[in-house]
């Protein structure tokens, strides 16, 4: 293995001064990495000042300061930029600010709160920057781009104009540790790049697209993310890949105005299945809604999460067994953290033996996932009656109307709402 390098020049007077964490296997509980990660920090030297871009995880601070000292004295540092305040990048910030007290800190507006929580110092001085703001280092100009929610509210990118280097924070990063540092020299890291996108950036797809609008027009020679390889070979291809990954495809097929409603169900005696069919039939009567019906029995590895990502409405049918919805429903509902489901419409229905708790539980989960659940679910004791199927049909129809914005406006009193909840519980 290549030994851990000294500070590495990535362009004239611009250095990588990050840290390697080859032993890491789990990142933030949810992410796996097969060979660790890197915390990339950088040093940009101008004629009139030196800027440090990001720091590292606190446990790796010593390594970071060693490399930093190879390229600058602390009293030369005029500028510190934090593109993102998560602890893996801000861990060494308090110590850096102690060692370079004269340096000015530049962060995004949304980063303030996090900064205050991180550095408990009421006299903290910092400057808020947004898209278009610049800092002049003398022959080197830092230009900021607000790229919020990639993947925290505070995230931003910083460009060195004269060198066309983009310090992108977590964006375009991945958990891959290779001391050879550059994308044209490290091992094959493509899977890590994809994996990182899928788990970290995917829930923020719309924000990815907004950020790309800002970044695509730039001339870029090097993309220097906060984790993983520095992208100097074909940097644009990584923007293109993000563009591909973030672009919704369904509407190429069904037209931009058509809404997609997915009806999922699972059924042991065919009762919940009949209700699902009725929900779908009701929804079908509304123009402008494409209805899809899926049996979760066959779920396995089917890409339901991908379908849900692009859908506008979701209805879940589950029988109640031993006071709970059944496992395939929960399995699906617990795999939605990687996509954005907020503000989609949700509904639940199902048949039951002696109690029908599943409906309420699913609705609560949907609300917890920040879906809107505008219509009360339908329960049927064992075999649904004609009247109950009719209510399912109505449920589908009303959901579809909500999707198309064709709702019957209604008025209800707080006491009625409370009563509804009681009878529902």
């Amino acid at each position: 293995m290549t030994p851990a390098p000294d500070a590495v020049e990535i362009a004239p007077s611009t250095h990588w001064i990050g840290a390697l964490d080859p032993a890491l296997r789990d990142f933030d509980i949810i992410l796996k990495t097969a060979n660790g990660t890197t915390y990339n920090a950088y040093c940009v030297r101008g004629d009139a000042g030196v800027a440090i871009i990001d720091t590292v995880k606190e446990s790796h601070a010593a390594e970071f300061f060693t490399r930093l000292e190879q390229v600058t004295r602390y009293d030369e540092i005029s500028t510190i930029v934090l593109n993102h305040l998560e602890p893996d990048h801000s861990g060494a910030l308090p110590e850096l600010m102690r060692r370079a007290p004269q340096a000015k800190l530049y962060i995004s507006a949304k980063a303030q709160l996090m900064l205050k929580a991180l550095v408990r110092n009421s006299e903290l001085n910092f400057n808020i920057v947004k898209t278009g703001d610049t800092v002049d280092l003398g022959g080197r100009t830092l230009r900021f781009f607000s790229t919020p929610f990639l993947h925290w509210p505070d995230t931003q990118c910083t460009l060195v104009e004269e060198q066309n280097i983009l310090f992108s924070g977590d964006v375009f990063g991945c958990h891959f540790c290779d001391a050879r540092l550059f994308n044209d020299r490290v091992g094959d890291f493509r899977f890590s790049f994809e994996y990182y996108y899928q788990h970290i950036m995917r829930p923020f797809r719309e924000h990815v697209l907004e950020a790309l609008e800002l970044l695509e027009p730039l001339t870029l020679k090097i993309i220097a993310p906060a984790h993983g390889p520095i992208l100097r070979e074909a940097p644009r291809s990584y923007l293109q890949r993000y563009r591909q990954l973030a672009t919704p495809l369904l509407h190429n097929e069904i037209g931009a105005d058509t809404k997609s409603l997915l009806v999922f169900y699972i059924s042991s005696y065919g009762n919940t299945a009949r209700m699902a069919q009725a929900v779908a039939d009701g929804a079908e009567t509304i123009a402008g809604v494409r209805v899809s019906l899926y049996d979760l029995q066959a779920a396995g590895d089917l890409p339901f999460v991908d379908l849900i990502e692009e859908a506008d409405g979701l209805a879940f049918g589950s029988p109640t067994i031993n006071g709970d919805a059944v496992k395939p429903v929960w399995d699906l509902l617990s795999s939605l953290a990687v996509i954005k489901v907020r503000d989609k419409l949700g509904a639940a229905f199902g048949s039951y033996g002696w109690s029908g708790e599943a409906i309420n539980m699913i609705e609560d989960r949907l609300r917890g996932l920040k879906l809107r659940v505008p219509i009360k679910g339908v329960r049927a004791k064992l075999i649904p009656t004609e009247e109950e199927l009719e209510r399912c049909y109505d449920l589908g129809k009303q959901l579809a109307q909500h999707l198309t914005g064709n709702i019957e406006r209604k008025t209800i009193s707080m006491s009625e709402l409370l009563a509804q909840e009681q009878s529902h519980a």
Binding site: R342, R367, R372, P374, H402, R409, I412, S413, M414, L418
Partner: protein, 94 residues
Amino acid sequence: MPKANVTFEKLGVTVTVPAGTRLIEISEKVGASITYGCREGECGTCIMRIISGMENMSERSVLEDKVLQENMAGRSDRLACQAQVLGGDITVKA
């Protein structure tokens, strides 16, 4: 008891409530798309836009005002976990 009518625009539902009710109580019961974090007026998760009827809402507290400013909220924004309805008609964008 004085009443207020709170309309959730996207949801298409108007709820008649006793004056003094907090928006969080209403929005959660009707299933409107306002999301909550801390529920204590600190995190700014529940910022919502008031389309009309701001004069029928409780005044911003010092804390609410601070959190709204930190989140760069506009003058028609409120924290749903803090704001109370005082009477009359209010329309929120949710």
